[in-house]
């Protein structure tokens, strides 16, 4: 019950972490099943239809239910701690985002267990995903599920954008924010700007499927490229939504374990902004094969090449961060370094398809699959693993087992390369994506066999991680507030942090406030000012704040007189109402009008009623 009603960003972060790890394992199982089918030519493990459902749900699960919410787990847990805040700007909205995510995740996932899952790809290309070509309820679950998950992401993005803008501790100006917070901040704006576009594309598809509109009906004169354009205007920023938080995480892990400040901090921040901005101008490189004409091809080819520059800048800055440092190879550090290497491979194969003529050879082949798994598995997942190993002690007060972490790392790295590296070759040999089987004698057998072996090895790697994760919660080595000797605010408070985070809000005077106290020699070249302190004093007096210090307070919020948001069940019921409302639509095409309208009206009444109750209740109990 406590977990259902919590508004504490740390608890919500933990919920996100566990839920999305569950979905990560589920998406992984779907991948392994696909590799089982493709292990040999003419595989008969699954039917074509089942295979379609597997690859659709693997993509959908990994993008929307694993990597995005894993990032959200870190947004929740870390952003307030890194900027010196006691919670996010809207704690109840935060709970709402989580519950919409988990209920939406269940909604879109359940059908796979009865082989009725979405089967039109994670990109759901219309008109293929329209009623004519996808008559069953499968794609209904997808179109409604993604719509629901979009609500969660959008609500969270307004929340975190506001949090970063407005809840930074005195002196924590923008150019002092930890790089994870910076990259998360950029990510929020990518969500704010890209999700509305897919919302509209999905609304059209929903209207087409449920109400017979003509948005994607070719016979009515519709343009088959409309969906593709709208989807990729969302879809390309989406890939930066997946990778930027991981970039942020390794930007915390690398300096800490190199015992050096991050190399080129301002350039890192600016290149993050530039990636975010250019991310909106490259979408049509997903569509070179449709024949957009030389102007569009040239423009989108050039912007795609351009976006490699800020990304490359980041790679070099990470390497220079390690250069000359005294490196400590923790499990987190190994994963962070692996990100640099693996993402570089994926980045380079990415540049090979920024050129339209070259892309025409690669598009829709396994080469593309190889590319985006190097950037998503080799990039986002490696970064997230680095983040989990690094921040586990902060979350649970205990370290994860380093030996198991090292085994996990090597097995994971080898298995990942075994799985995805051969796909470059099978792709170049012409093996198309998304086929459920293939004939022998095309030179693909060996590569597919290796890929499948790699995928099978990823399972034990992940199992070791999961075992380590749960075991370490209880039996891990006890960690102090700052086991890695890290420089940022989240390490200046006890592990796990008390509910109020900071008994006194720290007044920050540099980019690495904790190293100012523990290792001043490391930060001597960084500017130190007290800018922002005066304004803070002017607003509230100094009562609640103190110059940078290490906190050992173990009192409760009540004893310290810190007002905390009260627990509430209302966000849960608002989320439930919204999901039920959408779920009602599934019954509509079946002619089951009574359950359809009961769910739609019942759900609407539920969320509107609880929303009113929520908005008219103050956030904090005034005692």
């Amino acid at each position: 019950m406590d977990w259902l009603t919590t508004t504490d960003h740390k608890k919500i972060g933990t919920l996100y972490l566990h839920t999305s790890l569950f979905f990560f394992v589920l998406g992984g199982i779907e991948a392994i099943l696909m590799r089982w089918q493709l292990m040999r030519p003419n595989g008969t493990v699954f039917t074509a239809e089942q295979f379609n459902q597997l690859f659709t749900m693997h993509g959908t699960t990994m993008v929307f239910l694993a990597v995005m919410p894993l990032s959200a787990a870190f947004f929740n847990y870390l952003i307030p701690l890194q900027i010196g805040a006691r919670d996010v700007a809207f704690p109840r909205l935060n709970a709402f985002s989580y519950w919409v995510f988990v209920l939406g995740g269940i909604f879109i996932t359940l059908p796979i267990f009865v082989w009725a899952a979405p089967d039109g790809g994670w990109f759901g290309y219309a008109p293929l995903s329209g009623r004519t070509y996808s008559p069953g309820p499968n794609m209904d679950f997808w179109v409604l599920g993604i719509q629901i998950l979009g609500i969660s992401s959008l609500a969270a993005s307004f929340n975190f954008a506001t949090t970063v803008i407005n809840l930074r501790a005195p002196g924590m100006n923008m150019m002092r924010m930890p790089m994870f917070t910076w990259m998360s901040f950029v990510t929020q704006f990518l969500i704010i700007l890209s999700f509305p576009v897919v919302t509209i594309a999905l609304v059209f598809l929903q209207f087409d499927r449920f109400f017979g509109t003509t948005f994607y009906q070719i016979s009515a004169g519709a343009d088959p490229l409309l969906w593709q354009h709208l989807f990729w205007i969302f879809g390309h920023p989406e890939v930066y939504i997946l990778i930027l938080p991981a970039f942020g995480l390794v930007s915390e892990v690398l300096p800490t374990n190199s015992k050096k400040p991050l190399f080129g901090y301002p350039v890192m921040a600016y290149s993050g902004i530039l990636i975010g901005f250019l991310g909106f101008g490259v979408w049509a490189h997903h569509m070179f094969a449709v024949g957009m004409g030389p102007i569009a091809d040239t423009v989108f080819g050039l912007t795609t090449m351009l976006i490699a520059i800020p990304t490359g800048v980041k790679i070099f800055n990470w390497i220079f961060t390690m250069w000359g440092g005294s490196i400590r190879f923790t499990a987190a550090m190994k994963f962070a370094i692996a990100l640099i290497a693996m993402f570089t491979i994926g980045g380079i194969s990415g540049i090979t398809h920024s050129s339209p003529p070259s892309d025409l050879q690669q598009t829709d082949t396994y080469y593309i699959v190889a590319h985006f798994h190097y950037v998503l598995f080799g990039g986002a997942i490696m970064g997230i693993f680095a983040g989990i190993y690094h921040y586990f002690p902060k979350m649970y007060g205990r370290k994860m087992n380093e030996s198991l972490g090292t085994v996990h790392f090597w097995l994971n790295l080898i298995a990942m390369n075994l799985t995805f590296f051969p796909m470059h070759f099978s792709g170049m040999l012409g093996m198309p994506r998304r086929i459920y089987t293939y004939d022998a004698g095309q030179g693909w057998e060996t590569f597919n066999m290796i890929s499948t072996i790699g995928a099978f090895l990823l399972a034990p790697a992940t199992l070791i991680f999961v075992y380590n994760f749960f075991r370490s919660k209880k039996h891990g080595e006890v960690a102090g507030p700052n086991p890695w000797d890290a420089p940022t605010l989240e390490w200046s408070i006890p592990s796990p942090p008390p509910e109020y985070n900071f008994a006194k809000i720290p007044m920050v005077s540099s980019r690495y406030p904790l190293w100012d106290l523990t290792h001043p020699e490391r930060t001597s070249e960084i500017p130190h000012t007290q800018s922002g302190w005066e304004d803070a004093k002017h607003q509230t007096g100094e009562h609640d704040m103190a110059p940078m210090h290490i906190e050992t307070e173990t009192k409760t919020a009540k004893e310290l007189g810190i007002p905390m948001p009260s627990s509430t069940i209302k966000p849960f019921f608002v989320a439930l109402g919204i999901v039920l409302m959408f779920a009602g639509l599934v019954f509509l095409p079946k002619g089951m009008h009574i359950p359809a309208f009961a769910l739609m009206f019942g759900g609407s009444a539920m969320w509107i009623g609880f929303l009113y109750a929520w908005l008219t209740t103050p956030l904090e109990d005034h005692h």
Binding site: F189, G293, P294
Partner: protein, 110 residues
């Protein structure tokens, strides 16, 4: 982040300004509709640009005065104009990609 900005948000225009703003908005709308009814105007080359300019002016006036962005914290200006710019550029990009122009150029290239 500075004091001036934090205080500047408290200035809002009053009835004296609002009534002029409303009048200007009303007059521009009247002109827009009137132009639409001038015989032959809709086929004139200047018709679409002039309508776009007039509605852009209305848009800007409402945003600056009614949404008091002109007097408010610069942060809000950034939060609005940034996404608006992305939205307009995306819209123009999409219109180009679907236009006869892009298709004609594609034909010539092939």
């Amino acid at each position: 982040m500075s004091h001036e900005n934090a205080h500047a948000e408290h200035y809002h225009p009053t009835w004296k300004e609002y009534k002029w703003v409303a009048l200007i908005l009303f007059l521009i709308t009247v002109v827009e509709v009137a132009v639409y009814y001038i015989p032959g105007a809709t086929s004139h080359a200047a018709f679409v640009p002039s309508l776009l300019i007039m509605s852009a002016v209305k848009f800007a006036i409402v945003v600056m005065y009614y949404m008091h962005l002109k007097y408010d914290h610069k942060l809000f200006r950034a939060l609005f104009t940034g996404p608006l710019a992305v939205a307009i550029v995306t819209l123009i990009g999409l219109l180009f990609l679907f236009s006869k122009l892009a298709i004609r150029l594609a034909g010539r290239g092939a």
